[in-house]
Symmetry: none
DNA sequence: GTGGTCTAGACCACG
DNA sequence: GTGGTCTAGACCACA
């Protein structure tokens, strides 16, 4: 079962963070078609946010065709997102994690790492756009 | 001189994106104490956003003690952010870029990469918090 | 609930006047941690100023850590400011008021009094700085 | 010779602070008709502000008929402001200073005192307006 | 309904 | 010309 997080300091609206997390989990194969998402109440209670916010996120997922609420049963994943084969993903992930560990050893904190990653990713996106 | 970007699709308010970019540049040593930021009007014109939005970002930086507006002259960096020595940073950056290139070769698009990176970073943050 | 005033002739930007008034009320114990400030719209309507101006004041208070806006609920005092015990304050206040009454009887108008007070206070500040 | 001060943190435009200080000094009898104000250059240098700002203040005084610039000689007080007789003023001032000293002894800092004074004065003005 | 963001445009203070 | 303030009004996120 997916575990949601909300980072209130990031400026990203909470409901979008939830949507992103589902999308990411789908891409990474952590969520499969047919999986059940936690109930609105559970999420709202765990993250201390308003149930309406969770509902909005689930509706957004429904709108994108990724999930579907079944009254009385919960919300279920309807459709996956194309991603790389699991092995390749695991490989890449391992590579990234080892880089991260190295950065951490070198003395970078999470914010510093995030700054570096954001910069490099932004440049990559710009490259890709060409 | 720092070059701002704004990603309208991310959900992060533009003025916060500007703040983040300055903070990142400070961490990465791309901005130094005493450097001048582009004028409010320049940024507004380049990014096609309202001057007030830029002003809001600069004001936020001022509140954080990172920059200071001097009427008639511009806005200047007041204080740096601790970061790693430039060489170490360059090294780490190279490592990250090579990982990124590998992921790209493997068939991942920017969104997929971002998803993976976000997930791994979030886990790292959770680790760090312990 | 605090009652805001705005003096348009003073040259002090209205949003700063609001900030000052909250700070003063905190120092004087008229506002406590947890108290709710009037809503942005109420203040804007009462003082006949733009809601954005009020918002700017509340935002400034947030930056100073004194208040915090809770969407959908209002803006609340987060932190107090050290001040003297209420009795001592009341005593001092009485002393000041009696002096003021005397000055008034002697024929001074509010502006004259303000001039005298400003001068004496400025000298006091200079003394204190030593 | 009057000694100007500028408090950059107060929000009051510097040029208005200068005007106020002249007016206050006139009310308090510290400046007399015929007295010479410091030159624009002197003030600008001492307070580290732009000469234009000082000029603007002097023009404002001229506009109010309080001072007059005599090319090549300086700026001179043209007209006084009605005030109380010097003895009465000195008496009141002494009273205020003794109150201030008491407040200080009681543990109030300049900001606390300013807060109290501002509040009491504001109420007094409201009374007077009736 | 409450706070928050953005836009558009006017005006002021300062250099 | 540069930063800073204010207004007016639209739209969004949240409770």
């Amino acid at each position: 079962m997916i575990e949601f997080r909300v980072d209130t300091g990031s400026g990203v609206p909470p409901y979008r963070q939830l949507v992103h997390q589902v999308e990411h989990a789908l891409r990474l194969g952590q969520l499969q078609v047919g999986d059940r998402l936690p109930t609105v109440k559970e999420v709202a209670k765990n993250l201390v946010i308003n149930p309406n916010t969770v509902l909005k996120a689930y509706r957004e997922l429904e709108h994108k065709g990724l999930a579907k609420g079944r009254p009385g049963q919960g919300t279920f994943i309807e459709q996956g997102l194309v991603g790389l084969p699991a092995e390749k993903q695991a490989e890449l992930r391992a590579g990234l994690e080892s880089w991260l560990a190295e950065a951490h050893r070198a003395g970078m904190d999470a914010d510093g790492i995030a700054a570096l990653v954001a910069t490099v990713l932004a440049e990559f996106r710009q490259e890709e756009r060409k």
